[in-house]
């Protein structure tokens, strides 16, 4: 079992992973408007009122406040870094904002090793990853390519 820490991740190597391996689920939430406000402050980006004002969000035809897609994607990128360990090098990361995360939703960050391979003498993993809510809806599908050290 791999543990996900909120401190510097453990060193993990190419040999620690196998194709089809499920990575430990990281849970965030229930998500609150406060998470969004903290993200807006970190990015100095307050222009999209629908991210923090329910009245405006509904007036724009949304069901309510929507949390920022890049925030959810950044959580996912962070989970990839933690899954892969302190000496991994994140080469590529991709995310798609397919669904909305709203206040009081729970975000489950899931990942799986899709492919394990060597190229040019270096060791890589291709990962599938996603943010899923408590209803099992995938809001943010993603993928990553990671270079790992060998043992």
């Amino acid at each position: 079992m791999l543990n996900v820490e909120t401190v510097e991740p453990t060193r993990r190597c190419f040999e620690d992973f196998y194709e089809g391996q499920d990575l430990p689920v990281v849970t965030h939430g229930p998500m609150m408007v406060g998470h969004q406000v903290r993200w807006a402050g970190a990015c100095d980006n307050y222009e999209s009122e629908f991210h923090h004002d329910e009245y405006v969000a509904k007036a724009q035809g949304l069901p309510g406040i929507i949390l920022s897609g890049p925030l959810m994607a950044s959580y996912l990128l962070t989970a990839v870094v933690q899954w892969m360990g302190r000496d991994a090098r994140l080469v590529k990361f991709h995310d798609q904002n397919r669904g909305s995360t709203m206040p009081r939703d729970v975000a489950y960050l899931r990942g799986r090793v899709k492919r394990k391979y060597e190229e040019g003498g270096k060791a890589f993993l291709d990962l599938e990853c996603r943010v899923e809510n408590q209803r099992g809806e995938v809001t943010t599908p993603g993928s990553a390519v990671v270079e790992l050290p060998r043992r």
Partner: protein, 176 residues
């Protein structure tokens, strides 16, 4: 009766595909307090972001990998976007999708961030300047069940002031 679907990829819109912005330097060099706010917003307290001892192998504390994308803060010369909120048609959404790029003048009201594809080179460090070069790689329309959707594909390259690559991003913006 079938309605004619408007073609929003007008000659004016086509003309800005490939447009490049001049290099834009972030408002200020990376500051450790903004790195702290950023990693705390990501719920990631890894010592590489704040502990000089734990971050020795990076040459000192570093910023999270995605940080450069979010550091282009408003300068003193730029207008306050919140000051425009009293205009009845203002929705807080700016059609000038990057500083220095022309606005995408498509009369669709909703704007969504479709996602990113990152190629990552290294962490930015406090004290480093960050320079952004942006370009409209493509603008195209798809007609879905809910109506026309315009996709704006923006390539962004983030480098240090010394020209070292930090991150390359392809961002898709959706107008509908």
């Amino acid at each position: 009766m079938s309605e004619t679907i408007p073609d929003y990829i007008t000659p004016e819109v086509k003309a800005i595909i490939g447009a490049e912005a001049p290099p834009i330097t972030a408002r200020h060099a990376v500051e450790s307090s903004e790195v702290r706010r950023f990693h705390q917003a990501l719920i990631d307290n890894a010592p590489r972001f704040w502990d000089p001892e734990a971050s020795k192998r990076y040459g000192g504390p570093v910023a999270p990998m995605g940080f450069p994308v979010h550091v282009f803060r408003r300068t003193e010369e730029e207008p306050d976007p919140l000051a425009m909120m009293d205009q009845p048609d203002y929705d807080g959404v700016d059609r000038a999708l990057r500083p220095g790029l022309p606005p995408v003048l498509v009369p669709l009201k909703r704007l969504m961030n479709g996602g990113y594809e990152y190629e990552l080179f290294r962490h930015a460090r406090p004290g480093e300047g960050i320079v952004l070069k942006s370009r409209y790689a493509d603008i195209y329309q798809r007609n879905g069940r809910t109506g026309p959707i315009v996709f704006v594909v923006i390539e962004d390259s983030y480098e240090t002031g010394a020209g070292e690559k930090l991150l390359r991003s392809t961002n898709t913006i959706i107008l509908r």
